[in-house]
Symmetry: C2
Subunit: 276 residues, 2 copies
């Protein structure tokens, strides 16, 4: 693991590191905020998965999350959203290829060799983080925005018991029924739609449910609301009589101004689960 | 004035607008955060002047200031740092020309036609803002970072009575004695160094003083500390027995991680002056 940068930040350190990924067969970069409390012992970890076109950097610089994480003594990790590099497959559109990994393991060419983001986020990166930082493996929660909200919800349901709470900002909730999903799942997973269900938060909720606290915020003026379909996930949870907090925020859109506005609530929500 | 974007943000609106500048003879863009309270009456205004290479956008997206301004019911304006455009003079280096206006009115070619940033910030933009937003002209304060800290300190001292408080993050404090200053003043103001003094915070403090609260934060690991020279400004204030709060923040550098860490303090400092 190589240090790209380390900056003092809210009493702790905002670092950026690069490491060779065995899952993605390329160098991967992530940001991690380590609060001051990590000097005294292992701290809880909140994962933040970013959306389409983002790198590790966007949320790290624009979401304002470190202020609240520092207050709560929680570490924050900001992974990249896909493998990257000149020899990594890509597409000219913004929502496929580099910057658009969708948190799945690709089984189709040309994506298979590098696009193994589910394995990377769920298996490989946790090991890297636990080995290199003073983190409490038993206290992890997960959040994300848009495609990253899809990642947070699906990974929480596919790894029951790993996370103590899950939240999302404007998540893609039903990708098998959305153009933000069908296109990418076709490319990465192939045309057999039955294989897509394992990566759809709404279908996973119907199938498996989720026994940890769930908080979802979506703006009423989100320009992508019809692609996100939060109501589909809400219906699925209600049918199971699962407890979820699903808020529609009046006037807010899909931007980081929306995310930063409600970040304090999300970190407080996770802190309650992590310290409860 | 043309609307570029408006995003709901912490209960208020983060807007970006473009207008024709008479001072700079080009279109100028600024960001402004208007808190919810402006719906009920005029709100105080905090100016935030950015540093070298920045546009209106950097602090608006990375400083985390809206969270605290919303709490305090204060508007925030984020001006650009120079005139811009294809027909505007520029230089290949990062610290001269576009993105590096230094908040002075240029008297030297090729800069004179557009680089009139002091007139723009001190005279023209206030009129634009007062005409278009529900702001209280009698309650203004000013802050800034690096080159923008220089701008905040010098404009506060050149316009005594206008601002109720001034603060700065890692300001350039003594530009007539620094390579961040000599180079730009030579280019914009010419070789007669006696004309530079009116734009040097340390010299202005010696000459005029400042009768409003002053808060300055600088990181002990700021990579540009020798160019900033906060001690020069401190000495000048001490010689006049002016009250200033001058903090050195251990371990912090010149980045937005430093700024965002202490933004809450700065907004609270200004709020006390604006509501006092």
């Amino acid at each position: 693991m190589e240090t790209v940068s380390e900056n003092a930040c809210f009493g702790g350190t905002q670092g950026v590191y690069t490491h060779r990924s065995e899952a993605c067969h390329c160098d991967m970069t992530f940001g991690i905020f380590i609060p001051e409390e990590a000097q005294d012992g292992p701290v809880p970890l909140l994962w933040y998965l970013s959306g389409l076109t983002c790198t590790h950097e966007n949320a790290m610089t624009k979401a304002g999350a470190q202020a609240w994480a520092a207050d709560a003594g929680i570490a924050l990790v900001f992974p990249d959203t896909s493998p990257r590099g000149e020899d990594v497959a890509d597409d000219d559109v913004y929502d496929l290829g580099q910057g658009a990994g969708f948190y799945v393991d690709a089984t189709q060419e040309p994506w298979t060799p590098h696009f193994q983001m589910e394995s990377y986020i769920a298996e490989e990166l946790p090991k890297v983080l636990m080995a290199n930082f003073n983190l409490d493996e038993e206290r992890q929660s997960i959040s994300g925005h848009s495609m990253g909200g899809h990642g947070a919800l699906t990974l929480a349901m596919k790894n029951l018991g790993r996370f103590r709470s899950v939240s999302a900002f404007a998540p893609i909730c039903n990708p098998t029924a959305s153009e933000w999903g069908k296109k990418q799942f076709s490319a990465y997973l192939g045309s057999d739609e039955s294989l897509w269900a394992a990566h759809d938060a709404t279908l996973l909720m119907k199938e498996n449910g989720l026994d940890i606290p769930v908080l979802i915020d979506t703006g009423t003026k989100d320009q992508f609301l019809d692609l996100l379909m939060p109501e589909a996930f809400g219906h699925a949870a209600l049918e199971r009589r699962e407890e979820i907090t699903m808020r529609m925020q009046p006037g807010y859109d899909h931007s980081y101004f929306f995310i930063s506005t409600f970040m304090e609530d999300h970190v407080a929500f996770h802190a309650e689960a992590l310290y409860g």
